[in-house]
Symmetry: C2
Subunit: 523 residues, 2 copies
């Protein structure tokens, strides 16, 4: 029987606090250490923690803390269908959307895994029909573009995954359709996307689990007006992804409907129908299956109890050491791959919405910091932007680097004796060394303190499998951190108040400061 305790009540955490002040330096970062600190993730990806502020003593305590907090047992409770999402008494089953980790999960007499598999098969069949031409527009012409309409988890994850695979798919001949995304209620967002596509050849995917998301429903009507204005039938151009109990379900207004359920949160839905429809339309069902395989393989790795063999678990524990012992409030995600341009934005949601909480799973305020701020941009771009602060600012920001040996598109050029891909990788290697080791200089302005910790996830090439593994690694890291902080990582009550006040501002019968702000903004 697992027990849920606050982080600061654990013996392991108290021991960890006594290890405050661990450092990284040129002396510590030996070649042997870099080679030794490798943990396989899945699909050819490896997590390297050599440049972290850690050593044998910290690792031993992290193992103790992991065991004491029953982190891997809690993971098993979750994937076996325990009600880990206590506040809402819901199951948390995004892992099941990509494979079976434990027992079959049966709820209210229903086999949830079978339901997910059935939807996955329906999606693959639908995508094949669109690609084969049996599902076509009014004039029998094939669809060439897919536009997802969704916000938050129905946008960030699927969009980041699409961008991450577009170059790979082009090089592999796997690109079937171009994908675009409409998310913001700002009407300029939908107008810009609509003006950039051939509406007659465009298939829209409307994604809202509840079927009541304000932004998404407004954008649906926006799109419908343009379709109708072009003499097109919206019911031939829009498919829905929703829950079976939503007003969008089984609705003849849509060309097709695909289903998810309450057991997959929006920010964990990229491997469900929410990501599945748009990615399968863009790249084909087999590519989406490969993406799920990579995620599932990483999930299997997260079942390992030894922290130095479980990359997600170790990443989570080192993150808690940085946040709660070293006191660092921010973490940067720095992928050296242009394809991952929006992956940091997706992780920003996945992490900050999951663990940006101030009460524990029982509703009691916690007395320690929880989820950090997450931000990032691709390298080398970031090097010419905010890295100045990372190197020489007054605060230490832990860094999470991601890189690959090969690029995606296969086009490259050699200049000055090296390819662009090798320059990219060399920049990444150089940054890890620079942050950890620093460099003295008689001119203090040119001196680098070093001692700034980072980790590296690396692999051969960003393929669908590797992307699935990368995504699942972070999802599992966030889950383990939520367990450590004793949070419910699977609700988001913090978004509710804004919704209520927005309605008040729109209704016009509110007073006070809200009314004045609304007036200033022309509401």
């Amino acid at each position: 029987m697992i027990t849920w305790n606050n982080l600061d009540t654990l013996t392991g955490f108290k021991k960890l606090q006594s290890l405050k002040g661990e450092t990284i330096s040129a002396e510590k970062l030996t070649p042997e250490r870099v080679r030794a600190c490798c943990v396989p993730i899945a699909a050819g990806l490896t997590y390297n923690y050599a440049a972290k502020q850690t050593g044998a003593a910290v690792l031993a305590v992290l193992q103790e803390l992991s065991d004491e907090a029953e982190l891997v047992d809690k993971f098993a409770e979750l994937y076996n269908g325990g009600a880990v999402n206590t506040g809402e008494n819901r199951l948390v089953l995004h892992h099941l959307a990509r494979g079976q980790l434990g027992n079959p999960v049966v709820k209210d007499g229903r086999d949830i895994g079978a339901f997910y598999r059935k939807e996955a098969a329906r999606i693959a069949e639908f995508a094949a029909g669109v690609h084969g031409g049996s599902i076509a527009n009014e004039r029998g012409e094939p669809f060439t573009t897919v536009v997802q309409i969704g916000i938050g988890g129905s946008d960030l994850g699927p969009r980041a995954m699409y961008l991450a695979l577009e170059g790979w798919a082009k090089a592999a001949g796997a690109q079937k359709m171009t994908a675009k995304f409409i998310s913001n209620v700002d009407p300029d967002d939908a107008a810009a996307v609509i003006s950039s596509v051939d509406l007659g050849r465009t298939l829209f995917v409307l994604v809202s689990k509840s079927g009541t998301t304000q932004e998404t429903l407004s954008n649906e009507l926006f799109v419908k007006r343009f379709l109708q204005g072009a003499g097109l039938d919206p019911s031939r151009h829009i498919a829905a992804v929703t829950s079976e109990t939503s007003p969008l379900a089984n609705n003849p207004a849509y060309l097709a409907s695909f289903y998810m359920d309450d057991y997959i949160g929006g920010r964990y839905s990229a491997t469900s129908a929410v990501g599945g429809v748009v990615l399968s339309l863009a790249f084909g069902g087999e590519v989406f299956s490969a993406f799920l395989r990579g995620a599932h393989e990483a999930d299997l790795g997260a079942k390992e109890k030894q922290v130095t063999k479980n990359a997600a678990l170790l990443d989570a524990l080192l993150g808690v050491y940085e946040r709660n012992v070293q006191g660092y409030p921010v973490t940067a995600i720095l992928p050296y791959s242009q394809a991952l341009s929006r992956f940091p934005a997706h992780l920003q949601q996945a992490d900050m919405e999951s663990n940006g909480k101030r009460v524990n799973r029982f509703g009691k305020p916690v007395t320690y910091p929880t989820g950090p701020v997450i931000f990032g941009e691709p390298g080398t771009n970031g090097q010419h932007s905010f890295y100045q602060l990372l190197h020489q600012g007054t605060d230490i920001i832990p860094l999470q680097f991601i890189g690959f040996r090969q690029n995606q598109r296969g086009e490259d050029i050699e200049t000055g004796g090296s390819t662009s891909q090798k320059k990219l990788a060399a920049n990444l290697a150089a940054q890890i060394a620079a942050f950890a080791c620093g460099k003295g200089d008689p001119n203090p302005n040119k001196s680098f303190p070093g001692g700034r910790p980072s980790s590296l996830i690396f692999g051969e090439r960003l393929t669908p499998e590797a992307l699935g593994a990368l995504l699942a690694h972070y999802e599992n890291k966030i889950m383990f951190q939520g367990f450590l902080w004793n949070l419910n990582s699977f609700d988001q009550e913090g978004v509710q108040l804004g919704k209520v006040l927005t309605k008040q501002a729109l209704s016009g019968d509110t007073g006070g400061a809200l009314r004045v702000y609304a007036d200033l903004l022309g509401v």
Copy 2:
């Protein structure tokens, strides 16, 4: 004669420290306060600080601090050509690129303002030639697409400004050419852009002040190879923006060359030729002039000594109160405008590269925090992502909202009794109130502590003038904060070590950890 002192030596700062713990709440945020706390910026923009943790006592001390630190006098020293960039003994003259604030600046017998004006006129003439067809491709066909090749300040600012004006320009009939951008040394970046354009109709703008930026030169050769492969003459397809002393200057390899100088830093170069060429090609010289006018008008406002009448100065001072007295290490930039999707990324560079420093302008370590981490995404998207942490996380993150009464493209739809634009604005108003006021609930998980400070910049519509004013506001805010922290905000020595180590990694003759990382990454 101005004097340069560390923040913690100033009497005003000591007084400010005694005011630690100011709050904002539903009680304090009265309608009268919202109406009163408005400071005009320029071009119809207004800065509102009603929801900041401030009051009469803080404002009085901020005035004292501003006077004691001679902030406005230092600004005058800067725009009159004093060597404010002490480390490198360079002038700082980006303000002069958009208008005359003080005396003519003559350096080494050369009138710098006249030089900037001459280049601006040359750019406008060039753009008119391209638009009129007198400057065309080998076959005499007009160019339809412009692709900027640059990184850091040669990419983020111009790209953010282009995206910010694209919708406005489309609605105004002012869009002359589509603009795209290549920045990353990752060869997938250039390959993706090249595959998306008609090379024969594309004009490239190569931007590197030094003419030696590794990424930009690699991408230039990448582009040239594709141009040659398509049977096109690169010298008819590439214009250069560089300094007069760079290897790119006066080079017959380019269709045209435009110049800037060492007195405009990359991150402040959007109003120079770096932004000017691509924006003038995209939208015409008159639109770029309007953008400069807005920036200049905001610069004029930054000369005001009364802090409650100088928005950039007040924003800077309140930020220092938050960073150095309240102890908040992060600031979020939250524009409620999809057009400003990359404006936070630009500010991330502008702010973090300017003030992410640990030694003062004389090379002595400072003992107080300097520049915060800057991040952000457009609303309402962010509401469905990281706002959970902003509302209910354990840390307070000061927020900078931006919003407009009208959208750019003029397309909108009414659903449920309100337009999408009004929903967007209502969400913004609601968030400010929710963050400041919070809301109690018997369920602690649904309770909002409030007390979370924000500011708002608002205006009628995001026009070229408004965008210029918005950009200049932030540039001037960052400048004033650099003065307060006694930093040199206009160098970036923190990027140098990575460059040196990258060369070592590529040369192959390095050992140690760097070599192992390079091997792992296939260098």
